[in-house]
Symmetry: C2
Subunit: 444 residues, 2 copies
């Protein structure tokens, strides 16, 4: 264990080490014979893949979760998910506070304002509130799910399934116990499952700070810029997503469904790239256009400081806002009557660039080592990097090299963006000794 001072000086190292430690513990437990349904010990690579996928709340699996693992294995997996999901969310908030503590008083105040807390003790109180809210949401969703799962699976199993999927949903993990890699396709038209799970996913993906902000709205009567932006982008993605998927799949996978079923399925498939990893339509049957559209939604992902992944809704909005402001003759990105610091725009840009670079590199490698369609490879890489865990059918057939590429991608996707944001935030405070002369280049 590191000391408090050690933690403060290298928080991103702690994040990476902590995640790695949790994963290795998971690997150990999952390799035990007691973890598999057959009672046989599980191979290292399969255990590593599953533990990484669970801890990073990705949800990609090389063996079917429901049938391959025992109930003990399922408990290990759902524990990894809860620790990975909630732990990360809490850690992320700590990070932003630490960033705030190292920088100028003014900036620290700004960050505290956006978190709506006055001091650290206030934050801890608030964190407790949010964690409590999290557990309440998971319980309420689980209760809703019992309405369907107890009739379908009987008494103890139905309750266990309800809990498992509520936790998996809120943490945007995407692990399911339905068997045969089926995810929630059996419930494509079911209003209860669709409603409960999609609310679960959205709340899990909206982020700690937004939840805290919303919790205090009645008292403060205002929302932070961050909350407004995150809500706006999330709502826009859900709306556009539902519409586009509805139109693209109308004559394809939606064909056999009733009108309400068509709408539920479009809605659900537009929610899951936020980055839950469940699916109620057979993703392997989607049109290429729909798969590609989902790749983009997944790449954007959820909001910062949440259980979800991706480059994040707010990061996605930044370059667009900056360009839009520039076109209107403003020097800074503006929104809702506030300026966003240039340095944040650059940071967002860095995250997007690194994400794109990794997607390109991993896709190239997999293109070489796997015999598979390009779009399916792209889908799988983005799904892993954004910790979505949806699969267009490639993951279960991966070669060993391919599995290792995806394992690294899942890990980078989970700890990467935050680490990058943090690293850039501490470094750039260094006093600049001198400035070079300016010279323009020609672009476009």
């Amino acid at each position: 264990m590191q000391t408090h001072a050690g933690f403060l000086s290298h928080p991103s190292r702690v994040l990476v080490t902590g995640f790695a430690a949790v994963i290795l513990l998971g690997v150990f437990l999952l390799m035990l014979p007691i973890s598999s349904a057959s009672g046989q010990p599980t191979g290292f690579l399969t255990a590593l893949f599953t533990a990484t996928s669970a801890t990073c709340v990705t949800g990609l699996v090389v063996v079917d979760t429901g049938t391959y693992w025992s109930t003990f294995g399922h408990v290990v997996i759902i524990s990894l998910i809860q620790v990975g999901g909630l732990g990360f969310m809490t850690m992320a908030v700590l990070f932003w506070l630490l960033m705030g503590r190292r920088v100028t008083l003014r900036e620290r105040l700004l960050i505290q304002e956006s978190l709506n807390v006055i001091d650290l003790s206030g934050l801890i109180r608030l964190a407790k509130k949010v964690l409590l809210l999290t557990l309440i949401i998971e319980l309420v969703v689980a209760l809703l799910l019992t309405l369907r799962f107890i009739p379908d699976f009987g008494y103890p199993t139905g309750i266990w399934y309800s809990l498992f999927h509520a936790i998996s949903g809120f943490n945007n993990a995407g692990f399911d116990l339905m068997g045969g890699f089926r995810s929630l396709t059996g419930y494509v038209e079911d209003p209860i499952i669709n409603f409960a799970i999609s609310i679960d996913i959205i709340l899990g993906g909206i982020g700690f700070t937004v939840m805290a902000d919303l919790l205090q709205y009645r008292k403060r009567q205002r929302l932070s810029l961050h909350t407004k932006l995150a809500l706006l982008v999330t709502a826009a993605l859900l709306l556009v997503g539902t519409l586009v998927i509805f139109l693209l799949e109308f004559h394809n996978t939606l064909q056999p469904l009733s009108w309400s079923g068509k709408l539920w399925a479009s809605w659900f498939q537009s929610v899951v790239p936020r980055t839950a990893g469940f699916n109620s339509l057979d993703l392997t049957a989607l049109r290429p256009a729909t798969l590609f559209f989902m790749v983009i939604l997944m790449f954007i992902g959820a909001s910062p400081g949440s259980t979800g992944g991706g480059i994040k809704t707010t990061t996605f909005a930044l370059p667009g806002l900056a360009v839009f402001s520039l076109a209107r003759g403003k020097e800074d990105a503006e929104l809702f009557g506030r300026r966003i610091p240039k340095e944040q725009v650059y940071k967002g840009l860095a995250i997007i660039l690194l994400a794109v670079s990794w997607v390109v590199l991993a896709t190239l490698i997999l293109d070489v080592v796997e015999k598979a369609d390009f779009l399916r490879i792209l889908f799988e890489v983005v799904s892993a990097l954004a910790t979505v865990g949806s699969t267009a059918g490639l993951t279960p057939t991966l070669s060993d090299t391919g599995r290792i590429v995806i394992i690294i991608t899942m890990f980078l996707g989970r700890v990467g963006p935050l680490t990058v944001a943090y690293a850039l935030s501490t470094r750039q405070r260094r006093k600049q000794q001198f400035r070079y002369a300016e010279e323009r280049i020609i672009i476009g």
Copy 2:
């Protein structure tokens, strides 16, 4: 015709109108029976596609250039190419000068410095020099080509073919007269053709200002930041491109070739995304990984103010430079001991964002209307937008809707980036009345 004052006040409108006018004249000429080899009149959409492709120096074709058109048709096409390529290059330089004229004296001086000219008359002298150099390069390349084409095609035809391909190469147009959509695959191991055409393409794609800068190097003993950056990125892309294509295709399309043939073919295929559109390997036989790699090279494209397309080498380097500087604790993007203005980074970002958005949109539409592999669609869209004109086999089989999408993409790809850069450059000078308060959001 617009007046001089009109031209000065709306130059980007003139660019768009001028291009459209040249294209329409081309359509009229190509529809005439005299333009086709069969002596039959050509349909509007085919003529529009060909004229747009030639004027925008894209090179995508729906009918085979060599066999479908008559020699009169070929003359029309090569004239459209020369007007579109050189005209655009000259226009681009005028644009940057105009940008300089509208802004502060200091910035104007910076631009003039990067062009190495003191006043407008100096520029016109320099422009004449560059145009002369262009014609000399085209002639020298044509002479080199006669060494192969006269033996292969006899006297008048061999000379005509040499001229046609030299002009088509320098203007990065990619039109060829070989017949059967074969491009230069018949000369894959030929050192003369490989050498002459690749030099032709590289010089055409390096840009007016770089050429001017290099012409004056002996006198001034220094190069502008722009020239250094453009040369550096171009060299890096050529080197990495050759290496990656060599490794990826070694056991595939390079298999039957000799060692020198393998190297020539890798080199040539790494030159053409700069954005010539010729090919010496059968692109439809490339591995998916290679096709995807070429998509990235094509998207980057050539240098600004050249006959080539793409987002441009310098634009591509900007976000990376900015992020790298940020990571090293510097506020501004730096290179070779110079700072690059933030506003330019934003402008580059705008160009990249708009290009990515159009690629996504056009790919989605074509995914819906065409029955074709996703990667081939992506390849074709990027090829059209970056005015490359390489085809992975899709264009000749396009539906009418698909043709229209590609026609619009070619046009946007040619006039878009410059227009965007210009529009942002004039708008952003407006005096800002007030600034909003700053508020941070959370990213990553």
